[in-house]
């Protein structure tokens, strides 16, 4: 059996990821950790980390029984063309990385809310996981695959897929796990 790995990158409270897994209980998850911060991906001019460089390193370290690998970190992620990203994934690939930095209430100068953070994190993880299974953005604002460029739109969408995306997702899971068509 293959698993979807959640990899803690840097210092993250395991309890939080445990709660995320409870939300995403329909998938077989495993937790691993890497306490090292990805300094190689740091871009001093922007004081942010390039998501793609982190993904490239994660691809080199895939566990044997890994179906997909999602990195979770508290550092602020960006790409060369975008000022920030909540997450980045290989479209139809194995690896994605998600940042909690802009999902925290404290980022918007509000009191921290762990329950809300857990919900937001689960939504972004399922979104990036969708990309890993080949799903592209969806026009349904309530679908997990809707492109969220701000925190309001993340809060607005549900933590699951719309009917069409779910159908595609389930088909892909069956195909990748069992070689079915």
């Amino acid at each position: 059996m293959k698993y979807i790995y959640l990899k803690e990158i840097g210092d993250i409270k395991q309890a939080l990821l445990g709660n995320v897994i409870k939300i995403l209980d329909f998938l077989p998850f495993k937790l691993i950790e890497d306490a090292n911060y990805p300094v190689f991906a740091f871009e001093p001019k922007r004081n942010q980390y390039y998501a793609k460089k982190i993904i490239e390193k994660m691809v080199m370290e895939l566990p044997v029984d890994c179906e997909k690998l999602i990195g979770i970190t508290d550092i602020d992620l960006c790409t060369p063309v975008l000022t920030f990203v909540y997450g980045e994934a290989q479209l139809g690939g194995k690896v994605a990385v998600v940042s909690m930095r802009r999902l925290r209430q404290s980022f918007y100068s509000l009191p921290e809310d762990n329950a809300l953070l857990t919900k937001r994190l689960a939504k972004v993880i399922i979104h990036e996981l969708g990309h890993c299974y080949g799903l592209v953005h969806c026009n349904d604002t309530r679908c997990a695959m809707y492109l969220s460029n701000n925190i309001v739109s993340i809060d607005n969408k549900k933590g699951n897929f719309c009917f069409r995306c779910e159908e595609f997702f389930n088909k892909k899971i069956r195909k990748e796990n069992h070689g079915q068509k």
Binding site: T79, V81, L82, T83, E88, A89, H131, V136, H137, N149
Partner: protein, 457 residues
């Protein structure tokens, strides 16, 4: 619908791959090239919905690429992106025709909105072009088909009056193609670059017709939540086709008359008069002179409309046009349904020629559509026509006989069917063919008249 296609042009590999990955996640088809020359080649070879071009590149910079794309395919919107934004370059880019100018790195919210807006705009332009082509395909001057002398006279008249500004009244029975005549006049006039505006006066309820023709101001009546331009205003510098003019109320006739005299009008609830330059073509299947006599149509409006009259003949008066019309509709519906049809059997064509077509060309068109849909062979056969056509044929023959013999219609039909069956030794297929009806109808008639075969006795 296929995926929208975006061409990314940037000399830095990391920028190209980053932007490409992000756009792919949004469902776009993306191709990235590293210099302007390759970009220009790609634009020449393929269709793109959008190009995202970096400003600073070696050899040929973004502004030159923008200019070249504008020369080759001006319909492609180009976004210029740069990490070194200055007001000068932004002004230059916009002056050179860039759809937008964005600084790298992009705010994800901003770039998403810009791209979605441009792609949607591009989709609308393409849809517009497609619809225009479709419209042109649907209406061609050649649609006024006919070689009969009556139809040739109509065509000559159209050619003569089209370049003028005169108001025209088209009269003819329902389904004779009055709107086609009006469209032909519009297409042959200098107003053809603007859309042909038509108003089916009979189809619009009396209470709405004035608002529909003249438009209305916000708050003119309950439900008028915004200003609305009427058909007259929309037809400015074009042609307004008022179909079924005989059906409008006397009150609307007064307003229409005033408009035709003064060539200006006020929107419902509006104060300011609006001047327009339109050519009016009206049509009716009613006898307007009779309506004037009964007080239902204003005589002064009639004379304003009836500057030039074109009478479209009914199909029964130009039967020689039926074969060419039938072939035209056969080709049209073969294309629409994807069924390859080669023509009509002799009997089927004879049946079309003999019918008197009370619904005129529209009825013929519907009949051929029906036949193409149900046809199981490459030729249209009698069996493929709708029931009314075949029933009418038998009744037509029987009616002719009634006049001679003074017998009832049923008796004559019975006799005719019986004699046909006997002379063909009760061969149902052959008899049905000769009678010009399908086999099911013949069986029903045999049952109805309790006809019995005598061939084995």
């Amino acid at each position: 619908m296929g995926r929208n296609r975006i061409l990314v042009v940037d000399d830095e590999e990391i920028m190209r791959s980053s932007l490409t990955d992000w756009l792919k996640e949004d469902g776009y088809y993306v191709m990235a090239v590293e210099d302007g020359f390759k970009a220009i080649e790609k634009v020449k070879q393929e269709d793109w919905d959008l190009a995202v071009v970096d400003l600073k590149m070696p050899n040929i910079d973004g502004l030159e690429v923008l200019t070249e794309i504008g020369k080759i395919k001006p319909e492609i919107p180009v976004i210029i992106v740069t990490a070194y934004a200055t007001i000068d370059t932004a002004v230059m880019a916009i002056k050179a025709g860039a759809a937008d100018y964005i600084v790298k790195p992009f705010n994800p919210e901003e770039i998403s909105v810009v791209i979605a807006k441009l792609v949607e705009h591009q989709r609308l332009i393409k849809e517009n072009i497609r619809l225009r082509k479709e419209l042109n395909r649907r209406f061609k001057f050649q649609d006024l088909i006919g070689k009969s002398s009556k139809m040739l006279k109509v065509v000559e008249m159209i050619k003569t009056v089209a370049p003028t500004k005169s108001t025209i009244l088209i009269i003819g029975e329902s389904g004779t193609g009055k709107e086609l005549v009006a469209r032909a006049i519009h297409e042959l006039s200098s107003r053809n670059k603007n859309p042909f505006i038509s108003a089916a006066c009979g189809a619009i309820p009396e209470t709405l017709l004035e608002a529909e023709l003249f438009g209305y101001e916000k708050g003119a009546f309950t439900g008028a939540v915004a200003q609305h331009k009427g058909r007259i205003e929309l037809a400015d510098k074009s042609t307004l086709f008022l179909d079924e003019i005989g059906d409008i109320s006397l009150k609307t006739q007064v307003n229409l008359l005033r408009f035709i005299q003064e060539r200006e009008f006020r929107r419902v609830g509006g104060k300011d008069p609006i001047k327009v330059d339109i050519r009016i073509i009206a049509a009716t299947n009613k006898n307007l002179e009779e309506l004037i006599a009964s007080g239902e149509f204003r005589e002064d409006l009639y004379y304003r409309l009836n500057v030039i009259t074109i009478e479209v003949p009914p199909l029964r008066e130009r039967k020689e046009d039926i074969p060419v019309l039938a072939e035209h509709f056969l080709e049209k519906f073969s294309l629409d349904t994807g069924k390859k049809m080669y023509g009509f059997s002799d009997q089927a064509m004879r049946m079309l020629m003999e019918y008197n077509w009370p619904g005129n060309i529209r009825q013929l068109e519907n009949t051929i559509e029906h036949a193409v849909v149900v046809a199981s062979e490459l030729d249209i056969k009698v069996d493929d026509f709708p029931e009314y056509l075949v029933v009418s044929k038998i009744e037509g023959r029987a009616k002719a006989a009634i006049e001679e013999t003074n017998q009832s219609l049923d008796d004559l039909e019975k006799q005719y069917i019986e004699s046909t069956l006997k002379s063909n030794k009760w061969n149902i297929r052959k008899s049905a063919g000769i009678l010009g009806i399908n086999r099911v109808t013949l069986y029903n008639k045999i049952k109805k008249y309790k006809l019995k075969t005598t061939k084995n006795k």
